[in-house]
């Protein structure tokens, strides 16, 4: 089973707490999948939280780290292929569409689990979403 990763996991791998970085990196080092929104959201968060700050790394270094994280992503499925189901599910659950793209993708990928740290997603979709805490140090999902 190839896990689906939320953008929060990629951000954790880069700038999360030390324990979170370790788990998230182990997960990203294995084969994983996501919607194409994952790259966009990850970059958006990094720009929002890093741009304008005095930091000790270059953009090139940040790009290199992201390159490593995304190199194991086998599928970044175009979100345009998921919109019908996303629209229906997001309306039914009254939930932000962005999260639902990941949920629907995981649901459509057989028995794939969506790894996230978002408490709302974990609460609303317990059959498909698992917390990063439930991922072992080697990236295995319990």
């Amino acid at each position: 089973m190839i896990p689906v990763l939320d953008a929060s996991i990629v951000v954790e791998a880069l700038i999360g707490t030390p324990e979170r970085r370790k788990r998230a990196r182990a997960l990203c080092a294995r084969t994983w999948q996501a919607t194409d929104l994952c790259a966009m959201e990850t970059v958006a968060v990094l720009v929002a939280r890093v741009a304008g700050r005095v930091v000790r790394f270059s953009v090139a270094e940040l790009q290199r780290e992201l390159e490593v994280l995304f190199s194991s992503a086998t599928t970044l499925r175009p979100s345009a292929r998921l919109w019908r189901q996303v629209l229906a599910t997001a309306m039914a659950k009254n939930h932000k569409a962005y999260d639902v793209f990941y949920v629907v993708y995981a649901e459509q990928s057989g028995r794939a689990k969506l790894v996230t740290i978002d408490p709302e997603v974990l609460r609303k979709w317990p059959h498909v979403a698992v917390h990063l805490d439930d991922v072992g140090e080697l990236g295995e999902i319990s």
């Binding site: 951000v11 707490t17 968060v45 929002a48 930091v55 290199r64 932000k96 978002d118």
Partner: protein, 98 residues
């Protein structure tokens, strides 16, 4: 009764390859400009063309030392650490409304 040709019984023994033995590779269709740059580079490095190509393969294909890379990154981002809540909050911000 027609005579049948006997089944071929001789087998060609394949030489077992030593895993450490160097492999041979022929590269075709190298663009002339690229070839000229390769020759120049080999000259500069005082290597044969063959040795230069192998060195280039090694340079490109050797996997990066990811652990060392992450250790260096962690050192550089010691003062940039977001908690789970802060990451979820940042994602909600960039996602905007519904």
């Amino acid at each position: 009764m027609p005579t049948r040709t006997p089944a071929r019984t001789t087998t060609t023994k394949r030489r077992r390859r030593n895993p450490n033995e160097a492999r041979k590779l022929t590269v075709r269709a190298v663009p002339p400009q690229l070839y000229a740059r390769l020759v120049k580079r080999a000259d500069e490095n005082q290597r044969s063309l063959e040795a230069e190509v192998v060195a280039l393969f090694e340079e490109v294909l050797t996997p990066p030392d990811v652990d060392a890379m992450w250790a260096e990154w962690d050192e550089k981002t010691k003062d940039l650490v977001l908690t789970d809540d802060e990451i979820v909050e940042a994602l909600r911000e960039v996602r905007g409304g519904r």
